[in-house]
């Protein structure tokens, strides 16, 4: 029995656009938080003397800013990385759909080849 059927849809083909979308969401979140952090850093370092920064007491807004500036990047960077990894896994899944498509096309072309020879121009 000759197998002459178009390729079946694979789960990878359905999942990879979702991973690309997740990648964009994570990267954009990190970009927006980055902009906000930049503004906090600019204010914290550019508008306060070292003495006032170092002398900030518990509960002081300056200490809160320092906490934001040092804590946020520690989870934001791995989150951004998760976004990058989502893009890459999406790309990897897209690549992984190609071998089956090639096998199917090879099979169909193999079956069509004698007909192409006989009936073709």
């Amino acid at each position: 029995m000759l197998n002459v059927a178009p390729p079946k849809s694979s789960w990878q083909a359905k999942v990879f656009p979702v991973l690309t979308a997740i990648g964009w969401i994570l990267v954009m979140i990190s970009f927006v938080i980055g902009l906000s952090l930049s503004s906090t850093a600019s204010g914290y370092f550019g508008e306060n003397t070292k003495e006032s920064r170092d002398g900030a007491a518990v509960g002081d807004a300056l200490l809160g800013d320092l906490e934001t500036l040092t804590v946020t990047p520690r989870w934001l960077e791995p989150l951004t990385f998760l976004g990058v990894a989502s893009f890459m896994v999406g790309i990897a899944l897209a690549f992984s759909t190609i071998p089956n498509l090639l096998s199917n096309r090879g099979q169909v072309l193999n079956v069509c080849f004698p007909i192409l020879v006989k009936k073709g121009e």
């Binding site: 990879f16 990267v27 952090l37 930049s38 204010g43 370092f45 550019g46 893009f87 190609i98 121009e121």
Partner: protein, 242 residues
Amino acid sequence: MREIQKDPKPGMPFNMIEGMMPMFPMIAVVGWMLVLIALFVGFTVLSPAQSAFFADAKEARETAAAGSTFVDANVSRHVIEAWVPQFKFFGLGLGLMAITMALGTIAKKLRHMGKVIAAHMPANLAPPTPPIPGRVRMFQLSTVMGVMILLAALIIGIVLATGVVPDYFNHTIATELNTAEVNSELLSQLGTVSSYAKWLNPLRIVGMSFLFTAITLALTVIINTLRMQAGMLVQFYNKASG
């Protein structure tokens, strides 16, 4: 065999992009070399600068005057950190651009192969040549966008590395930098040098994301082309075998 019709030439800027596509191996090697140069700078300039700066106690480092080894080392390490990361990301961007271009070339080759096969079919059974998918233009634009963002980040890095960064760090830490008053130029410069990385680093990743998206779009073009060609061959088989 019937004559194979050529695809119409695209307008600007797509004709330029398509003209550059066969150069993808060179672009890949250049990208790889840029990252290698960044590694070399890290090894030969940044690493010795860090060693020189941390060669004595904090008091000695912070009381050293402008022109001393410590201050020079401090300037050097901050200047390098302002431009080298952008430079290496630009190199990675070129690598991703080369991948997109190679995928675009594969999509073209597949299209040509489909046309060759269709040209050998009898005229009444041959499927019409499908139009160039709209996603081709999208992935080309996404590639350009990604590379442009990375180039902009590199230019910003160079501007910082030749302006505010050396200006700020070329001072004695203890008596000049640490005693800067509110509204002084030094404190304002500190605001800039302490905050640029917070938005520039995510911006680079946005640039990379455009390139990743371009690769994904190029892959969907290839996947759809393969599916379409298999479908056309199946149709041809069904019609030809009655």
